[in-house]
């Protein structure tokens, strides 16, 4: 853990952004990102993810609060801080007349890299992202996958310590998406990453920290395990094997258990819904005992709903239902 604030890669304090006094895009967001973290930035459309990313990069100025990157305040003129950041925007676009070579060269010059550094580096990156065959072709004709790979190369041209990737898997086919996730895993060994995504399974796979934004407010920030810990563990599906009558009999017994508010049998799949206050381990132990007594074999058991997604939806749902209570709490805290 970072011992003092200057060790943090990103720190925001009461970060607020109001566009032209019309739209509150971000409200009172305080966050600390430590070196080596892979932070997944989650939130529904319009939650303020891109605004948050743009504030970190100094593309927007905060209406209130501040952003510090590598211990220094980020401003539109903080070029020295941006030299340490690699950024991929949502739906990256490139000047149509440029080729990967000319574009990467231009980007490297924007980072102030001299020719003897940037030329070998761009050649290595073009090779690494598998664009060697089209390195002289105009980017206008590139597919989504090729565009994404060029964006990755661009974000790595300055060998950054912090990578900020805004929806990097957006619009990619499954193969390209898989490659992107593997790349994030590889890069996370030596860099700090902020990955904004709608795709919760992506975040679940590659991130170790999560921050959830809803309507411009940060409603959760912590480890991914903490986020999953908030998930309602009360919905399970069991695939069973054995005599149909025995399965039906076992189901009837299970329906009588007080821990369950519902048990439905469809063919050989048993769907169980637990009460909120029930302890899932003891309830499931009773279920297994009942199945064993009726000589029913358990083929598989799973928690219904993608874990992170469920936790995320729960958080957003709770946040939206709190209404004025939240405002009162904030006022009291202040």
């Amino acid at each position: 853990m970072a011992e003092n604030a200057s060790d943090l890669v990103v720190e925001t304090y009461k970060l607020t952004k109001i566009y032209q006094n019309r739209q509150i895009a971000l409200n009172d967001v305080s966050l600390r990102i430590e070196p080596g973290s892979v932070l997944g930035l989650l939130g529904p459309n319009g939650a303020g993810k891109t605004t948050f990313v743009r504030l970190i990069l100094g593309l927007h100025r905060p209406t209130a609060g501040w952003v510090k990157v590598f211990g220094k305040t980020m401003t539109p003129n903080a070029a020295d801080l941006r030299r340490r950041i690699g950024y991929i925007p949502t739906n990256p676009q490139f000047p149509r007349g440029m080729s990967p070579i000319t574009y990467l060269d231009y980007m490297a010059r924007l980072f102030g890299l001299p020719a003897d550094v940037r030329k070998p580096r761009l050649a290595s990156l073009i090779r690494a992202v598998d664009l060697l065959a089209v390195s002289g072709d105009p980017v206008a004709g590139f597919s989504n996958g090729m565009t994404a790979r060029l964006a990755v190369a661009t974000s790595l041209i300055n060998e950054p310590e912090l990578l900020v990737w805004d929806e990097p898997t957006h619009g990619l086919d499954p193969e390209a998406r898989r490659s992107m996730l593997e790349l994030i895993k590889t890069l996370s060994r030596e860099k700090t990453l902020i990955v904004s995504s709608h795709n919760l399974s992506d975040i679940d796979e590659v991130c170790n920290h999560a921050a959830v934004l809803s309507r411009g407010q940060m409603i959760f920030s912590g480890s991914l395990q903490d986020l999953k810990g908030r998930m309602r563990r009360n919905h399970y599906e069991l695939d069973l094997e054995g005599d149909q009558k025995a399965i039906a009999k076992a189901t009837q017994v299970i329906k009588g258990f007080s821990e369950f508010k519902g048990a439905a049998l469809r063919q050989r799949r048993l769907e169980l819904r637990m009460n909120d206050e029930a302890v899932n381990t003891s309830a499931l132990a009773n279920v297994f005992m009942t199945l064993a007594d009726n000589k029913v074999t358990l083929v598989s058991i799973r928690s219904v709903g993608q874990q992170t997604e469920q936790a995320f939806l729960d958080l957003v749902e709770k946040e939206e239902s709190r209404g004025f209570a939240r405002a009162c709490q904030n006022a009291e805290a202040a």
Binding site: N77, L110, F111
Partner: protein
Amino acid sequence: MDTTALIAKPKINRWLPYWAVLQSDLRQTIHGWVYRVWVLATLLAAIGFLLYRVGVDREAGIMQSASTFISDLLRWSVVGSIAPIIVLAGGCISSERGIMADSVLSRGISRYQYFLGKWHARLVTVVGTYLVFGLIAITGSFFFLHEDIKILGSLIALVTVIVLLAGVTTCGVTASAMCNSTVMGVAILWMVLYGVGFGLSLLPVRYPTPDYVLTNLPNILRGLYNFAQLGRLILWTVAGSILVALVGMCYFSRRDV
């Protein structure tokens, strides 16, 4: 042992981002249709103007002095060039807003460098193009027309006109940095230029206004000029341009993109 500490960081050239934007914008402007239309139209208009004057000479026997011919050519090409120059300068930053923010300003470049790169690129384009045209016209007239023009007078006339165009270009780039859309930038620039032009036309004759200088071009080409007065106009225009650019740069460095 921490091996990363031993890896030498590459030496950063702090002005390379500025040069990159300048070169990229120069290339982009020269390949743009607005610039090409401007150059082509100016060339065709100059050739047409020359043919007309030759025709008048041959058919009616009216000889025209080089100073009158060149001053007309310079004046009308300035008037005709204002519109494309406004479009060229007025959209240079605002037209790239989305791509600019994502591709360029998120890298290791400051807003100041970006503004300076764009401003200087447009200045070089406009000033360079007009300088080439003007020098060709003056050199040609020196050899092929009646020689009533002086070299120093010609150069001073050309410099004065170029400084005025540089002022217009600077105002355009500043408007572009302050507005969200190209149309808005161009519209505001037109209004400001007309307003300033109207305001200057109300000044007493002793003040050298741009309009006065353009009207007086034949005399300047003949070497009949008040150097101090012209020098003052040039200095005021340069100072005004720098001030306008500073305002645009400071505003751009504080706004969202």
